[in-house]
């Protein structure tokens, strides 16, 4: 089990030992590179990162120049793209998907004067930071809303891959759901892709056919929202960005990933010469995660959602506070305790109430 804090402090110490970078002349704009796993037009994950990139241009104007490479597969090509960004003068590079981790770590070693940031990753180095959002805080709120909305007590959940990031979301959602509706269950379907509108729509239609009347998703396209909208009596949540335009009568709310504050802060740090490797994990309180407007629901559900949101943001409610047992009955969090970050990072179990395969 990894102690995140000690890793962090170690990395910071190393960064200081290697000497702070000298402030450089400001005539040359700072070149900032991004690589995306999907197209910028996915209206989900990559789109939101690109919104963060555009926010950089707006904030810093001529002082930065940004570049992106989209639809980079999480395989052999990533290393070359990262290296080319580094050799073409980009001094700060954001690798925005988990699967870029190995390539980013390797290229970071080869380019010690370039700063790298890896989203949702866990490998850090003096010039390689990691960052993510506590999206599961938003997913807990979705679960609360779903619990109050469903009449069939069957919720469909389209997951990308059975990795900790996604399992945290499923569990947070289910804990929220069962906090208001212990009868309701969640059926997880694996799409085995982050972005494939066809497969995502198929998965949505499959869970609708099984009787689900609320759908949540952890894949990046709006296809499940369109499927819900077409089905008529199915409600749905947007993913990563406000997808209300795709489901004007079906979307209840959406978790909005807002990378702009983080990106602006990190670019400022490079400009000031104060950039250090770190692990950033911000949630509702830090402003990295927003909720889209609560729509298509009765006022009392909306009030409950807002109350839950306020409690999480203020720290009054820890979404992974015990007692929590997994679905096999093993106690994972004792009463009066909460799941620590390290355990959240390697989560590989489902809470009670989740149905569907979990590869062991």
């Amino acid at each position: 089990m990894i102690l995140r804090r000690s890793l962090l402090i170690g990395a910071a110490a190393l960064a200081m030992a290697s000497g702070a970078p000298a402030a450089f002349a400001q005539e040359e704009p700072l070149k900032v590179g991004f690589i995306y796993v999907g197209p910028v037009g996915d209206f989900g994950w990559s789109y939101q990162h690109d919104q963060g990139r555009l926010a950089l241009e707006k904030e810093f104007g001529d002082r930065v120049q940004t570049t992106y490479v989209e639809s980079v597969p999480e395989g052999p090509d990533a290393e070359r793209v990262l290296r080319q960004l580094a050799t073409s003068g980009h001094k700060l590079i954001f690798a925005t998907s988990f699967g870029f981790g190995d390539a980013t770590a390797k290229i970071a070693k080869a380019f010690p004067d370039v700063k790298f940031e890896h989203a949702t990753g866990y490998i850090r180095d003096v010039n390689l930071a990691t960052y993510s959002g506590r999206f599961e805080e938003g997913r807990y709120i979705l679960g609360v809303i779903a619990g109050k909305t469903t009449t069939s007590n069957k919720i469909g959940y389209i997951g990308a891959f059975p990795i900790p990031e996604v399992l945290r979301g499923v569990n947070a959602f289910t804990l929220g759901l069962q906090s208001v509706n212990p009868e309701a269950t969640v059926s997880v379907v694996w799409a085995n892709t982050w972005y494939d509108p066809g497969k995502e729509a198929d998965a949505a239609n499959a869970v609708i056919a099984q009787g689900a009347d609320v759908i949540a998703q952890h894949t990046d396209s709006p296809a499940p929202l369109q499927a819900a909208e077409n089905a008529g009596n199915v409600k749905v949540f947007g993913q990563a960005s406000d997808m209300i335009q795709f489901a004007p009568t079906a979307q209840l709310t959406a978790i909005v990933d807002d990378w702009a504050p983080y990106y602006i802060g990190r670019v400022q740090a490079v400009l000031d010469g104060t950039w250090e490797s770190q692990d950033h994990w911000g949630g509702l309180a830090a402003g990295d995660v927003h909720m889209a407007p609560y729509t298509n629901m009765p006022d009392e559900v909306k009030a409950l959602a807002e109350e839950t949101q306020a409690k999480i943001a203020s720290g009054e409610l820890n979404i992974f506070s015990g007692p929590i047992s997994d679905r096999d009955g093993t106690e994972r969090v004792a009463a009066g305790e909460a799941l620590d970050d390290a355990a959240q990072l390697e989560m590989n179990w489902f809470v009670k109430g989740v149905q569907g395969d979990l590869p062991k």
Binding site: G33, P39, V40, T67, Y68, V69, E70, S71, P73, E74, G75, P76, D77, E79, R80, V81, R83, Q84, L85, T87, S88, F98, G99, Y122, F161, P162, I163, P164, L167, N192, L345, E346, M347, N348, P359, K360
Partner: protein, 355 residues
């Protein structure tokens, strides 16, 4: 208006000139496209065609990208020549990676079998086994090999997916879908330190040259060409159609498996869901760009590798969206294939006659 008239015999001149004409047309159309997008056309074309040669690492990357394309393209060229349509090289590539991964992960370092040739051979055999399924179904039950080989691509991808998420998952990998890194002995040696260029380059050239010799100098090659061009004539000549189907599918499947094994042991270094199997589909274009000649496939692989890397560089250096890179790559392929029609046809300007 221009009319295409069939030539009595294929033009030798045009066979050489058509790629040059195609490149010229691509340059003109590309310059126009980039000018319309507000880019400097000369700089944009430089980025596409020349920036992949800018430094030693990039030159090596062109070859790295071309190696699996060439291996698979050469095999598919032979396969398509024989009128057997193996569309599933991507699946055979994936099985090759799985086979190599099984050997690399489960052979202990002290075993006498712990040497690089073993995963590579295992990969090639797994690729052949995967290609044997469409071969058996086609020869025994007359099932269309296009569909079977294509569908098996998805089965292969799901099999890999299951292995890396389930039984072969790295137990200390935070639950992420990947196996342990392969041991040192199972890494393909690099040719140039500091790049990713590996000895697979020699295998690709040897495979292409060997297949070219076979097709042009051996009875087997003649049989395959006859079977492909005139199946009835081949039957009258007593050639076994079933034997040829088996031969070309096992050959192309084995090469695709080898390509997958090389990619897994040299570039990726472990198994994970994404290992670059998409190259199996690109290799179909490679085979056609090379006019279904194994040596031509080498060139086709280089062309596609340059245009893929040029497209990435255009996004980085010119900040063009990926779709523009795709449009440009499409134009290049379109002109290359369209100009090949000049070999068999003569364009002739004819006055439009009054009715």
């Amino acid at each position: 208006m221009i009319r295409l008239e069939p030539r009595a015999a294929p033009s030798k001149l045009m066979a050489m000139l058509s790629p040059l004409i195609a490149i010229l047309l691509t340059l003109i159309a590309g310059a126009l496209l980039f000018a319309l997008l507000g880019q400097d056309p000369v700089e944009a074309l430089r980025v596409y065609f020349l920036s992949p040669f800018d430094d030693a690492y990039m030159r090596a990357e062109v070859l790295v990208k071309a190696i699996p394309l060439a291996l698979m393209g050469a095999g598919l060229a032979v396969c398509f020549r024989a009128n057997v349509w193996n569309i599933g090289a991507a699946g055979q590539f994936t099985l090759g990676a799985i086979g190599a991964g099984a050997a690399a992960l489960f052979i202990p370092a002290e075993s006498p079998f712990a040497m690089l040739a073993v995963p590579l051979i295992a990969g090639a055999l797994c690729g052949m086994a995967w290609a044997a399924i469409p071969a058996a179904l086609r020869t025994r039950l007359s099932v269309n090999e296009i569909l079977v080989s294509l569908m098996l691509t998805y089965v292969a991808a799901l099999l890999l997916d299951w292995l890396v998420r389930g039984p072969w998952r790295n137990p200390r990998g935070f639950g992420f879908p990947q196996t342990n890194a392969f041991p040192e002995w199972a890494h393909v040696p690099l040719l140039v330190e500091g790049t990713r260029l590996h000895v697979g380059a020699f295998l690709a050239v040897a495979a292409a040259a060997g297949l070219w010799l076979m097709m042009s100098r051996t009875l087997r090659g003649l049989r395959l060409r006859v079977t492909g061009a005139a199946p009835r004539a081949a039957r009258f000549a007593g050639f076994s159609a079933a034997g040829d189907v088996w031969f070309v599918l096992l050959l192309s499947g084995g090469l695709a498996g080898l390509a997958g094994a090389l990619e897994a042991t040299s570039i990726v270094g472990r198994l994970q869901p994404e290992i670059g199997a998409q190259a199996g589909f690109t290799a179909i274009i490679v085979a056609f760009l090379g006019r279904l000649n194994p040596l031509g496939a080498l060139l086709g692989a280089l062309v596609l590798a340059v245009s893929a890397i040029g497209g990435e560089n255009a996004q980085i250096l010119l900040r063009l969206p990926k779709n523009v890179a795709g449009v440009f790559q499409g134009m290049l392929l379109f002109f290359l294939l369209a100009c090949d029609s000049l070999i068999a046809y003569r364009p002739r300007l004819v006055a439009r006659r009054r009715a």
